[in-house]
């Protein structure tokens, strides 16, 4: 009785963040299973398979081997001394997920889900992609396991991420352009869901972010949580302490939850997500679901969404295709409400400035998505003392964005 009363009144300080989601896939009011009846049983099968496999020693050993020898983990933590000096505040450190095979954190998740698919006996992989990083990471693991792969991608995104489209084709995947709705990531996700509902018997859907119906937000988080586990150990090893703050970009939020998760119970570490503010939140042309959206239901879960007063999901804008999404993972929605993490908007201009600053001071071309986290890190560092440490998740490399940046600057390549 006493325990119940205590739980009912639990403040953010009392929450054990490692114990979520609950059995129903809930993070507080968020998450859940908002899908058509046809998918309920396939999702139950996936949940059971995953819960069994994550305790399975063989599975864990195979995943660890792949992460080490194929992905190239662990990724280093790098002290950006020159950048820190220029900014003149706290020390900026990067978790170098851009150095992973295929160039982003996305591979952590696809390697894991592909192994689940293989053990479930599925022979066909489908995926949705925005920037193309998750599509590439899915095509990569599918071809390595000899599985067919179909990637759904909004027609608008195909246009702005041509290099990744071609990479997927080189890896043997079929890239299907999605021309419904706003022709971006959200519509690609709708189309992948439609494929899954139609081909559910032999198909495994690798969702690329911590959204979708349960168990996806949990499973995708678990596979990305290695980023934070490594980072926490590396911080203690290299600096003898945890960082004062961590920043990561948030579209769906997979790299952010990946690096945040191991630190959730370390209340002294500030966690800040950088959402895409596009042209500025006040212009309405942005993709900042947490900063400017409201609770709703989209893509199988309850979370913050960007929609109008009729409940219609509205078009979002960001220079980075990977952040151009009107929802966000339900765990982030919950972390926002509990106050454990905070979320701020970074505009296209701020992200671009950070991209250039990082390129010139450290010789690193960051993905436009990750450049939002870099911008947030720089902002934060300015107001903090030199002995403070800010860890920025450099979630992906920027090669794929070179054309976008050149076009923005009026340069034809």
């Amino acid at each position: 009785m006493l325990a119940n009363t205590f739980n009912a009144n639990a403040s953010a300080a009392a929450i054990d963040y490692t114990q979520y989601p609950d059995a129903h896939g809930r993070f507080g009011d968020y998450g859940g299973l908002y899908v058509a009846e046809t998918l309920m049983e396939p999702l139950a099968e996936l949940r059971e398979a995953y819960l069994r496999l994550r305790q399975d020693a063989d599975f864990i050993a195979e995943l660890d081997r792949d992460l080490k020898h194929y992905v190239g983990r662990p990724s280093p933590i790098y002290h950006a001394e020159r950048l820190s000096q220029k900014v003149g505040g706290a020390q900026i450190l990067f978790k170098r997920e851009d150095l992973n095979h295929t160039g982003a954190h996305k591979i952590n998740n696809t390697v894991g889900q592909a192994l689940v698919a293989k053990r479930m006996g599925k022979r066909r992989i489908i995926a949705e992609t925005g920037a193309g990083q998750h599509g590439v990471a899915s095509a990569t693991v599918a071809t390595r396991l000899g599985l067919d792969c179909v990637v759904y991608m909004g027609a608008v995104d195909i246009e702005r991420q041509k290099i990744n489209v071609y990479r997927m084709k080189l890896l043997g995947a079929e890239v299907v352009p999605v021309t419904s709705g706003s022709q971006t990531l959200k519509d690609a996700l709708n189309e992948a869901m439609r494929d899954w509902v139609t081909n559910v018997a032999d198909t495994f859907y690798i969702i690329g972010t911590v959204a979708g119906p349960h168990p996806y937000p949990m499973m995708v988080r678990d596979f990305n949580a290695i980023v934070g586990r490594e980072a926490r150990a590396q911080m203690l090893d290299q600096y003898g302490r945890l960082p004062d703050a961590i920043t990561a970009c948030v579209g769906g939020g997979s790299n952010a939850i990946g690096i945040f998760h191991a630190f959730l119970n370390d209340r002294e570490v500030k966690l800040i997500g950088a959402e895409a503010a596009g042209d500025g939140i006040e212009t309405g042309r942005h993709a900042a679901s947490l900063a400017a959206g409201r609770p709703g239901v989209l893509h199988g879960n309850r979370t913050y969404v960007i929609c109008d007063d009729n409940g219609q999901i509205t078009e979002t804008h960001s220079i980075s295709a990977g952040l151009d999404y009107p929802g966000v993972g339900p765990e982030h929605a919950w972390l926002k409400d509990t106050g454990r993490a905070s979320y701020a908007g970074i505009t296209d201009e701020e992200a671009l400035a950070a991209f250039h600053e990082l390129a010139r001071s450290e010789g690193i071309l960051a993905a436009l998505e990750s450049s939002h986290a870099v911008a947030q890190g720089i902002k934060l560092a300015r107001d903090m003392d030199k002995d403070k440490l800010i860890l920025v998740n450099l979630s992906g490399r920027g090669d794929k964005d070179v054309h976008t940046i050149a076009a923005r600057e009026g340069i034809a390549l």
């Binding site: 299973l33 058509a36 709708n190 239901v297 007063d309 009729n310 409940g311």
Partner: protein, 273 residues
Amino acid sequence: MNRIDRRFAELKSAGRTGLIPFITAGDPSPDSVVPLMHALVDAGADLIELGVPFSDPMADGPVIQHASERALAKGVGLAQILAWVGEFRSKDANTPIVLMGYLNPIEIHGYAKFAAEAVAAGVDGVLLVDCPLEESETIRPLADAGLHRIFLAAPTTVDARLAALTAQASGFLYYVSFAGVTGANRLDLTPVHARVAAIKRLAPELPIAVGFGVRDAQSAVAIAEFADAVVIGSALVEHLVNSAPAAAVTDSARGFLAPIRQALDTRSTRHAA
């Protein structure tokens, strides 16, 4: 008594198969919705499913996706749809209306507010595609207000869930004839028949409507052999959008539905004889 229950009781005592057309509210044009609903009733509809357009219709095929996009482009929203239902209700007190769609428009409108307004307008039930039984607590205010929550069952629904679904069902159970999106052409009646029979054994009194892939009189009659009602959506929506002048839409709806009604009635008369 809810109009849906009354209608299925009437159908049962008359030995007739229910005919349930689906249209997307606001398509092919906002002006045509109410006349279209009356025309469908004239042509033999027993219940009308009115689709509430949503920007991200995950369970729908291209026909209904495009109908939703057209309706949304014309600014159709929940308040207007409820007003149309009210207008329809002023001339038709008996034909049940089920709103079919996705959660977010209702979530944003507010569940209790929507429930009160829907009942006042004359809505009888809701079928929310992305609100399975497990999440149905979300829409409890709708049931509390007297709206039937129509649940779906699918080929992938396992027996244990089927028992839970039939125990919680109200109005009727909507059986999805194949794993796929609306409007696809994958109908194979043998497994559908077996499954509907299994549901009938679990819940003999619960009416079962079968939808997805029903395109014409022939497929409707085949389903009438074992189901209490047939739902026709994409084929009708596609037919209507091709009937260009707005004035022709009601004639087009009658022309589409009446032969199906006639075929169903011929079949039930033959059965009675």
